[in-house]
Amino acid sequence: MAVLNEEQRLLRDMARDWADQQSPVSAFRRLRDSGTPGVDPATWQSMANMGWAGIVIPEAHGGSNFGYLGLGLVLEESARTLTASPLAASALGAASALVLGGNPEQQARYLPGIASGELIACLAIDDGPRHQPQSFSTRASRSDDGWVLHGSKAFVAEGGQAQLLVVAAETDSGPALFLVEVDTPGLERAARHLADARDHCALQLDAVVLPEAALLGAAGDRKLLDAVLDRARIGAAAEMLGMAVQSFNLTLDYLKTRVQFDEIIARFQALQHRMARLFTEIELLRSTVEEALAAIDRDDPELPQLASLAKATANDTLHLMSREMIQLHGGIGMTDEHDAGFYLKRARVLENSWGNASFHRDRYARLCGY
């Protein structure tokens, strides 16, 4: 069970201040209005300067090896204000794939860049609009001195700004992860505009020829795939926790100022009890997220269950919270000039990433043997 130590608390407070001051929601709004979804190099530079891109990367490769609980705190705080950055994709997702599955050459080649923020990398796993990692239609076949990939990927988060992709494909011996630089011949990217106005893209892989050195770990190593995915799931849950907290706080503030029937509506008991319930749900969510993050750091054999617990809880909680945020704001929350819609839209994108609640409940039950 996770209790923050002094350093972790300092990191969280720093991230919180940074998000409030350097990356408030108004920054995301400007980005959205600018028409270049999801990319603000200056913000990412600022985050990288704080060392956040290297939190889970060994010191030998330029990181701080501070652990996933630490990175989770930063993800939570930066997502709280809807910071549009590749932190989850690059510093958590792709970095995890390299740390867990990379050989010394691969790590030495890519990790320092990821740690410094100069190299943006991301995961390209799902072939379709739903999370289905049991098998991939993207195929990798052996060639003379390496591999040839055919297929496509849908909705690669931060794929438009990435220079390195960690691509999942099916081989004869099972699933495998490949390091694919974006300028590799045969690879095409196309932007996909989702409701959250972030950077997503589709990939087309048309006879993409890769050297043997592009393979991460061994072909058919489902454990590696699962380990990487569980980290991505927990990272998304941490982001969702931050969003739920902020949605709750904005709603609470509104209820405390909005007057109807000559009364501050925070005094209406029906609303009080709904807020009490939401607060309770968010407290439960926090426990599952922090526990799952700590479980990565202590290499807990129950990590898969805890990852599914955190992601399913995050989905249910943020789903409810984002609906209640709109409803409790009334008309004003329906307008684009209010931030509520941003949280709602981003919530659903994360809910549908890395497995929805059904997926994770089913997985949890299977892992528990029923």
Binding site: G128, P129, R130, H131, A154, F155, A190, A191, R192, H193, L194, A195, D196, A197, H200, A202, V259, Q260, F261, D262, F268, A270, L271, H319, R323, I326, Q327, G330, G331, G333, M334, T335, D336, E337, A340, G341, L344, K345, R348, V349, N352, S353, N356, A357, S358, F359, R361, D362
Partner: protein, 402 residues
């Protein structure tokens, strides 16, 4: 039963049915069959084709767009059984009723009940022909659920009122010719200081700004009134007596909204299970492979059926004179179903159901996203879910106390 016996008997109804058939044959342009666009109310005015214009003119001049309204004000003068036959025959040839909007749904019935003879003769016939578009000037930034807190001021200037203030959520304000509005004519009293005014939107001092919603562009506006002159002949009912009229109009709105939800549920764009089959396939047992989702779809579809049965029961009980359950129930359950359906659809589509624009999405997927977001309003407008629950608790259940 008595109502039926006073009305034309079975034979007369058959004659009427043949008249309708003949009239439709003559007046409904066959090329329009089935081309009704249910989203027109949200998406605003697409330019109508000549055929559509002709159809509107024909039905409008016959009064059959408002079939049960009195003939003297441009309505069809039909009884309920005749109106039903008209509906059936229109459906049979793929025709629909192009006469609608706030004038038909809300203002017309209210004017029929409260307006002066002169006001009825002036304002109702153009509604029956859909010549004049109306918008609703009710809500204000500080007066949402607590509508009676409205502050837009109408100052008595002898033969006219001078209007100053701001309205919001004026639906269709950017396209409207006229606005029916609640305004404050007495600052000292809350409910008893409100009047019901008809305002020409072309009047100097009226400014309309469309509101951007989370779902994109919208039919809603903010409307600003700066020293707008409104002749006193446009006051409906008594000065300071507008609250009663305004509330009655809201009842028409609520009935239409809940009926609308039932109708949407009815036509509903096919079953959720079909969408699920398309995106998830089926397993060997012929079932959706996601058992959790399958259960939730069944829950939804069963609840939707219970809702429709309730809507029918309420209608039937109201007709037969038995006590009707309240429209508040239908409003809330209808809203919940509309939103739940959208959330389930989106869940099945996965990230494809969150497409905003551009390549990579089917038109159905892009519409799912916008519809999902737009649908968040249905539990807010026309009286929030919370207000409906207050109404149920206080008016039906008598939980007010004292």
């Amino acid at each position: 039963m008595t109502a039926q016996e006073a009305a034309p008997g079975g034979d007369a109804l058959e004659v009427f049915r043949r008249d309708v058939q003949a009239w439709l044959q003559e007046n409904f342009p066959q090329e329009l069959a089935g081309q009704d666009n249910p989203l027109a109310a949200i998406e605003g005015n697409a330019p109508a084709s000549p055929a559509a214009q002709a159809w509107k003119a024909a039905i409008g001049s016959r009064g059959w767009g408002t079939p049960t309204w009195p003939r003297e004000y441009g309505g069809g003068g039909l009884d309920h059984r005749q109106a039903k036959i008209l509906n059936e025959e229109m459906a049979a040839v793929g025709a629909w009723n192009p006469i609608g909007g706030m004038g038909v749904m809300m203002l017309g019935p209210t004017l029929l009940e409260f307006a002066s003879e002169e006001q009825k003769r002036r304002h109702i016939p153009p509604i029956c022909r859909s010549e004049i578009r109306w918008c609703q000037g009710y809500s204000e930034p500080g007066a949402g659920s607590d509508l009676a807190a409205l502050q837009t001021r109408a100052e008595d200037c002898g033969d006219h009122y001078l209007i100053n203030g701001q309205k919001t959520w004026t639906s269709g304000g950017q396209w409207a010719d006229w606005c029916f509005a609640l305004v404050r004519t007495d600052k000292q009293r809350k409910h008893d200081g409100i009047s019901f005014l008809l305002i020409d939107m072309q009047s100097p001092g009226v400014e309309v700004r469309p509101i951007q919603l989370i779902s994109g562009t919208s039919p809603f506006c903010e409307t600003f009134f700066t020293d707008v002159r409104v002749p006193k002949e446009n006051l409906v009912g008594e000065e300071n007596g507008g609250w009663t009229i305004g509330k009655r109009l809201l009842q028409h709105e609520r009935t239409n909204l809940s009926g609308g939800a039932a109708g949407r549920g009815g036509r509903g764009g096919g079953s959720l299970a079909k969408i699920g089959e398309y995106y998830l396939g089926k397993n060997d047992a012929g079932q959706l492979p996601d058992a959790d989702l399958r259960t939730r779809i069944a829950r939804f579809e069963m609840r939707q059926r219970a809702f429709r049965l309730t809507a029918q029961r309420v209608l039937a009980e109201a007709r037969s004179g038995a006590p009707a359950a309240a429209s508040s129930i239908l409003k809330n359950v209808g809203a919940e179903l509309t939103q739940e359906r959208a959330e389930l659809t989106l869940e099945m589509m996965g990230l494809n159901g969150l497409g905003w624009e551009g390549d990579g999405f089917t038109p159905q997927e892009l519409m799912a996203t916008r519809g999902w977001l737009w649908g968040k309003a249905v539990s807010i407008y026309g009286g929030t879910a919370e207000i409906q629950n207050n109404v149920i608790a206080k008016r039906i259940l008598g939980m007010q106390g004292e």
